[in-house]
């Protein structure tokens, strides 16, 4: 799981950088409203990656501790 772990972090970082760059580009080219949509898209992508991960983890914890 280690590879996947650090992988995830770098991917999120990449998405973040991408989103910020695209946002800057859009701002300078005048299309500010799109910037918000882009950042929202980025958020959704990140969530899409993280949520299954977290749910998996919590399942493991539930199994382990028999909560």
């Amino acid at each position: 799981m280690a590879g996947l772990g650090i992988d995830l972090i770098f991917r999120i970082a990449a998405v973040g950088i991408l989103v910020s760059v695209i946002g800057q580009v859009l701002k300078y080219s005048g299309k500010d409203e799109h910037a918000f949509l882009v950042s929202l898209a980025g958020l959704l992508l990140v969530l899409f990656w993280i949520v299954p991960y977290i749910s998996d983890l919590f399942d493991t914890i539930r199994r382990l501790f028999a909560i």
């Binding site: 799981m1 772990g5 972090i9 999120i12 970082a13």
Partner: protein
């Protein structure tokens, strides 16, 4: 150990970088790193718990109480994790709420043990 250390350092550095441009991504990275490290920790905890279970053979504690202890451990674990993430995101109050809930839940779970203790004491009278 190394994996955990590298994950944490990488995440911290990236988060610092992103915090200036897009602050929320700092939080996401913190969350992701936390989850990854939690994954490793869970592995280790599993091992510790199974060794403690070996001890259970010698001490004939009722299975009920053992499961209570286990649940309490799990609850503490989760509440600290959630609380810390909230704190990182800057929401101290939320973190406090989560931990409060955990404390109350643990108290509720622990009451049968105290009751059983008092019952045992009463059997002497």
């Amino acid at each position: 150990m190394f994996q955990v250390a590298i994950t944490a350092i990488a995440a911290a550095l990236l988060a610092v970088q992103l915090k200036q441009a897009k602050p929320e991504y700092g939080v996401y990275i913190g969350l992701a790193a936390g989850v990854v490290i939690l994954w490793f920790t869970t592995d280790q905890i599993g091992q510790v718990l199974s060794s403690i279970e070996l001890l259970e053979q010698y001490v004939q504690i009722d299975a009920v109480y053992w499961s209570v202890l286990l649940k309490i451990t799990g609850i503490t674990y989760l509440s600290e994790f959630a609380g810390n993430i909230c704190r990182d995101a800057g929401y101290q109050a939320l973190a406090g709420q989560v931990e409060l809930f955990a404390k109350i839940l643990i108290m509720a779970l622990g009451i049968p043990v105290v009751l059983a203790l008092l019952e045992t004491i009463e059997s002497l009278m």
